[in-house]
Symmetry: C2
Subunit: 409 residues, 2 copies
């Protein structure tokens, strides 16, 4: 890689006390990765001036580009500008065009504007000011030693706006890059070690392409990266030949949900979901994809058994005989939602997500997933380990994969 | 704070290329915060030996405790043990009890065990080995200079298991702490600056308690922290007196969802949801809470208009006259789901989440939320800015808040 070393620093005590998940690394990392740049380090620190100063000067020593987020608001824990100005030996000044933008933006507001709001427009004296299309505080570009420092606001939509409008264009101009080529394999039902063993056996060119593995419950993400398309394709075909249709869940897609979405949209078919222990999470994942209305009809969150009967037509006797967490009920839910909502496909999930509710017979982690389509229905029993949230995530992924198998099969 | 300085380092290239969100900082931060410890810095680096070595030695210079996660698997990008052994000038050895545990765990597996799996049991020679209740690779405790280094596996459930079983008990024994007291205010419909201005006006004791603010779309999280309970309570009462019931969404709860859950469970009432543009996300949030079956009945994901008619009894004429994104349809959805599912309360969301689908009349970001209860129904029109995901998150929060207002009012 000949690109610049790029580092990210996020400041905010709530990012370190469990209050908030820091999503800036993902936003910046994905934007850089898509254009062949690499994020080398991500550092998160609290709201203390000393922590900010230390992290900033260390990063500016190592990197050509430092993106710093947070601490640009008007409250007492917003210290970024002051620390940077002190490092540069300059002042903090009011940026009049930004202040006027704020006043204009609040023109129609009923309550009188307090002057704290205007403090969003304060900037480091030496900064090149970057307009913020999504909020109040502008971004700032500073040159310190040989490095470039971007100051961005903490709220994700504002961070993203200035990243798109200013940071990426700056990088493209200063360090034109040729996109690095990547193939991603989402693999299910096969451990990291098994996959690696198969690759060794098939004489995968490890000396040339260093594969990256990421294991998560029930799934491994394998990424191959190489600048030469022909070599990468060759290595990718080798890996693909080692995997069955059941194991290779998604190829160069972001997720199984997007694979399923493409398969359904491509064939003009529709889908409905019936969810018990996942409570709507499967629908949420599918509708997170823009354009999901082309294939997603809707669903039923059948948390209580009465809802399984009334909205999915699961027979009361079946629920009494087999229990809500059972293969026959999963099948009936998939068939029911498909019929009721008039979709080509129905998918269902019923299980014991925990932490309570498990029995010897039906322990926490036991999940049944069902699929119903034009040619009938199928169910799969799966046992997962881990927390309530792991079991639910795992169940959704397995359900999407079961549907995917039927769509391609 | 007299506690130890604690830092976290996570290694994994997929954490820096947008592939995966790093959730370790949240898990560790929350566990530490609950017992009065502070996470001072979180660093994420790629899978390169040099990056790992630099980040580790810097952190060990600054901190008393360093928790390092990732890179303990059997594949070529798992370099952690080797780097640490080199720093200590010792070797990497097979930990026989861990190896036997792995062999035992795979005893009933159909495929033969490959010897890469056993490499999960490799440890740094000088390490105290920490058993992993959730996976294959054990944790390790090492003493380097004056600092303690924990090596933990990257998968979240394994990280959490060793954190709970070994890291927290170690901290408690070595640095007994008295919990720091905290009050959190989730505030809606009021900017950070407005809230701060009110606090200034009311003479909030800023010299004594430094409040932390976290703004996100439509909501501000204000955290007050002080070791003395009486002073904290006094300051908390002052803030509370500045907020209306509409503005103070949740007090010392994790989220509005948990406030609503407590209110419903406490009064023995039930809830059903009808979701269009959020696709099941509201149900997902509510059922993420353990014990949600005590109040949550289920719901209908009415993405297509036909589902709004067939499962929620929204009149076809209403949909034709007003459009699916309208106040009357939101009200009909809330009433419909309440009636169909036999719940005490029904909540609905219908809107234009974007990026497509907006018109001049009904732009992206326009959302109607409805609530139906024993005494009738109400709707609220809201306009949000931002991405599809922001609009959806904002809509769910607003819907929960509308319900909360009706539950307390």
């Amino acid at each position: 890689m000949n690109g610049p070393r790029i580092e990210l620093i996020s400041s905010g005590s709530e990012l370190l006390n469990g209050g908030t998940i820091n999503r800036h690394a993902q936003a910046l990392g994905a934007a850089l990765d898509a254009e062949g740049y690499t994020l080398s380090r991500d550092t998160t620190i609290g709201d203390q001036a000393e922590e900010i100063r230390d992290a900033l000067s260390e990063a500016l020593d190592r990197a050509e580009v430092v993106v710093f987020s947070g601490g640009l608001g008007p409250t007492g824990d917003d210290l970024t500008r002051g620390v940077v100005a002190e490092m540069l030996g300059c002042g903090v000044v009011m940026h009049e065009p930004s202040r006027l933008r704020i006043v204009e933006r609040y023109r129609f507001r009923r309550k009188p504007l307090n002057n704290l709001v205007e403090q969003h427009a304060l900037v480091v004296e030496q900064a090149e000011v970057l307009d913020n299309a999504a909020g109040l505080a502008p971004g700032e570009l500073l040159r310190i030693g040989g490095a470039v420092l971007f100051l961005l606001p903490g709220p994700p939509s504002e961070f993203q706006a200035i990243l798109t409008d200013h940071v990426m264009p700056f990088l493209r101009k200063r360090w034109p890059s040729s996109p690095v080529r990547t193939i991603k394999f989402h693999v299910a039902g096969l451990g990291e070690s098994d996959l690696l063993a198969r690759m060794h056996e098939a004489k995968f060119p490890f000396e040339e392409i260093n594969p990256s593995f990421r294991a998560s419950p029930g799934q491994v993400l394998l990424t191959l990266t190489h600048p030469d398309e022909a070599r990468l394709t060759h290595a990718g075909e080798l890996v693909q030949s080692l995997l069955t249709v059941h194991e290779l869940v998604a190829l160069s897609h972001d997720s199984v949900a997007s694979v399923v979405a493409d398969l359904l949209t491509g064939s003009g078919q529709t889908l409905a979901v019936a969810e018990s222990c996942t409570g709507g999470g499967l629908g949420e994942q599918l509708t997170a994809l823009p354009g999901s209305s082309r294939f997603f009809v809707g669903g039923v969150i059948a948390y209580a058994n009465a809802v399984k009967e009334s909205l999915l037509d699961v027979p009361a006797e079946l629920l009494a005989d087999q229990g809500a967490v059972s293969g026959p009920v999963a099948a009936a839910m998939a068939v029911g939602v498909r019929t009721r909502l008039g979709a080509d496909w129905g998918v269902s999930i019923t299980g014991v997500a925990g932490p309570g509710g498990g029995t010897d017979d039906k322990p926490v982690g036991l999940v049944y997933i069902g699929v119903a389509g034009p040619e009938g229905s199928a169910v799969r029993e799966i046992r997962f380990g881990g927390s309530r949230s792991s079991v639910r995530n795992f169940a959704m992924r397995a359900a999407l994969n079961l549907l995917r198998e039927h769509l391609v099969g």
